[in-house]
């Protein structure tokens, strides 16, 4: 039997029900009533003790959302979502904790199973980390409420604000008011508008002028409540000359109902500032019949507001039943730079429609897009990208490379680039390749002693190498692990 045929057969037999992280934690939760209305919005706002201006902001978004319709242009199919049949807020009962000791042990156990224990746990256990080792600050978001925030002291010394956005709304209203919704306006798109109305929590980061954040900031998300939409809201601001690297990773427990996830992430860089935002996404992809799995409708956008500023997105997408996600850069400041590095793996019945937008507005702005799509099973994997230069964006430059790799012959890879140059000095390059994983290459590896699965793993890791290299060290290992987990499914 030919190697590829064998792969196809194995893919047919895959049982994504064996989803590694498909466990569920039993904890009490405090839910809003099912369905969406002004009352739901008020309930959430009240739960968070929000000031009146925030409630007004949410209600305005809600009213606008009522007038909007769900976008249909992406290459994804899913049954109609009944927005009145979802819960919009749930939080673990226990909250407002003074220390990690008070964290529900069930929650801590969940992190342990993920192999991502809070660094604090180690410290409590008396584990001494070597001097000078890079630290990661974890703002653990469990369902919708942050239950543990660490490394606050060290960050405070540097003047960096890193806290749940619900707290930032109360403690730093001037900053939140100044930046919230300025990159992704409440009217932006159906899912972003919904998020604006009902967002529960998320991270807020502010790095003051000239400060290089002393550690990588990290948040691990988990959806853990049946039928609960997860509406994260993240806002990161790097003031003049500041730098911050932010890591976001997430896994979700297995369940039958589809779960809606509509997050919004806004990044702002002022003059000479830089934000590096890395994601490893592994939401539950659904079972072998394509049932269940997360609907991931995310709006992520960065605004290079200042001159010489830089925003870099790196993502490793392996999970979710449906991914609808286009982390983008608005290159407003002169000489600003945007980067997008992406690995999107789809297997089973997964559908991915993902890419980026690079919007060149300032002079001599540059952008770079490296996208690697890998499709297996009966999945559909689409890259959709927009590169545009405004007529005043003289000297704009973009380089795009989109490579797709197919495993088996029942999946699809699609590339949909939109390129618009409104001035004659813009220089845009676009390269795209689509290839099938070659039987000859697999046989070569196997003849040298590798198993079929190891061979596929090796070839795919080579294929995505350019992107993996962009991840911070701490994340690269986890990313490789996730890639091999998702490939395990594809070759049996």
């Amino acid at each position: 039997m030919a190697a590829v045929q064998e792969t196809v057969d194995r893919v047919r037999r895959i049982d994504v029900d064996q989803y590694r992280y498909g466990f569920e934690t039993v904890i009490e939760s405090d839910k809003a009533p099912k369905g969406l209305s002004e009352d739901t919005v008020r309930f959430i706002s009240a739960k968070k003790n929000e000031p009146a201006w925030m409630l007004e902001w949410r209600l305005e978004a809600y009213r606008r959302w009522l007038t909007m319709t769900e976008p249909k242009w992406a290459r994804v199919n899913y049954p109609k979502i009944d927005y009145q049949d979802l819960y919009y807020y749930s939080a673990p009962k226990k909250k407002e904790l003074a220390s990690l000791d008070e964290v529900d042990p069930e929650i801590l156990k969940t992190y342990e199973k993920l192999g991502i224990p809070l660094r604090e746990v180690e410290m409590l256990e008396g584990v001494v980390r070597p001097e000078g080792e890079r630290k990661i600050a974890v703002d653990a978001v469990f369902d919708s409420v942050s239950v543990a925030t660490t490394f606050q002291k060290e960050l405070k010394q540097a003047g960096v604000i890193f806290m749940p956005i619900s707290e930032a709304i109360r403690e730093h209203p001037e900053l939140v008011k100044k930046y919230l919704g300025t990159v992704v306006p409440t009217s932006d798109n159906y899912f972003a508008t919904l998020n604006s109305a009902v967002f529960s929590d998320g991270s807020f980061v502010y790095v003051p002028p000239g400060v290089r954040c002393p550690m990588e900031l990290s948040t691990y998300f988990r959806i853990n409540e049946r039928n609960t939409g997860q509406f994260e809201r993240t806002l990161i601001i790097a003031d003049k000359g500041a730098y911050v690297s932010y890591l976001e990773g997430c896994t979700a427990p297995q369940r039958d109902e589809n779960q809606l996830h509509a997050a919004v992430v806004e990044l702002v860089t002022l003059d000479d500032a830089e934000i590096k935002y890395s994601t490893v996404q592994n939401w539950y992809p659904g079972n072998s019949e394509g049932k269940g799995g997360i609907y991931n409708f995310v709006t992520k956008r960065g605004d290079c507001r200042g001159n010489n500023s830089k925003i870099s997105w790196t993502q490793v997408e392996t999970g979710s039943a449906i991914t609808w996600k286009y982390p983008s850069c608005i290159l407003r400041g002169d000489n600003s730079r945007g980067e997008f590095y992406s690995i999107a793996i789809s297997n089973g019945h997964q559908q991915v429609d993902s890419g980026t937008k690079m919007i060149h507005l300032g002079k001599n702005t540059t952008s770079r897009i490296i996208s690697k799509g890998i499709a297996a099973g009966v999945s559909q994997n689409t890259y959709r990208g927009l590169v545009t230069a405004h007529r005043k964006a003289t000297g704009a430059r973009n380089f795009t490379a989109c490579d797709s790799l197919l495993i088996g012959d029942r999946c699809g890879a699609h590339t949909v680039p939109y390129i618009e140059a409104k001035n004659s000095s813009a220089l845009f390059e676009h390269e795209a390749t689509t290839s099938k994983i070659s039987e000859d290459v697999l046989f070569y590896c196997i003849q040298r002693g590798l198993s079929q699965e190891e061979a596929v793993g090796l070839v795919v890791n080579g294929f995505v190498k350019d992107v993996l290299q962009q991840l911070p060290m701490e994340f690269a290992v986890e990313a490789q692990k996730l890639i091999s987990i998702s490939l395990e499914g594809s070759v049996g």
């Binding site: 030919a2 190697a3 070569y444 590896c445 196997i446 003849q447 040298r448 002693g449 090796l458 080579g462």
Partner: protein
Amino acid sequence: MALLEVKNLQVRVEEREILHGLSLTVNKGEVHAIMGPNGSGKSTLSHVIAGKPGYEVTGGEILFKGENLLEMSPDQRSSKGVFLAFQYPVEIPGVATMTFLRTALNAQRKARGESEFSTPDFLKKVREVAARLNIPQDMLRRGVNVGFSGGEKKRNEVLQMALFEPSLCILDEMDSGLDIDALRVAADGVNALRSPERAMVVITHYQRLLNYIVPDVVHVMSKGRVVKSGGKELALELEASGYAQFEDAA
């Protein structure tokens, strides 16, 4: 016991029989050359021994060290000591040659129940072998065969052969695409690996290669069978008279 025994092997590809009862016995320490015109089944034989998918064995057997080779998966055959030097080695972008060598060597050792090489031991071994073959360090850092010249690709095959220390080496058309200097370097590398414990099967169209790798036994294949076997002088005879005489014999 012979190292490799091919007995009355019959092989089909997509309903067409390519090998019609081929037999071949190779002992430890011997170098056998298999010569024959295009389409005589030389490469098919090498692929079937290595276990390449797409071939259907309809009769006969292959014993390797007395074991039934056809029941083993291709990676098992590799760890048991079967090595195929490819006519056209593939490129694997993004996978550094060094990484590939280490992954493969450790996979084979693991399959044999041996401990994996430590990084320093491995590096030492690779550097040593690479130096012998005139392979620069820079080549080991590049993706497997990516941007390699024809000669470099073949040298990379010989490097792996030296590193994995197989007991049976099958060299499939190793002279194709090589100029005379590159051929000499590769052949010298192969000759250095000749040993009383190892056998080689050299598959080639031309006698030229056999000036450098001198065989103990020469077989002529035609239309899916071995039609004549003899000493190294048989190759010279072929060079002079061509394959036509054997086409009729087959």
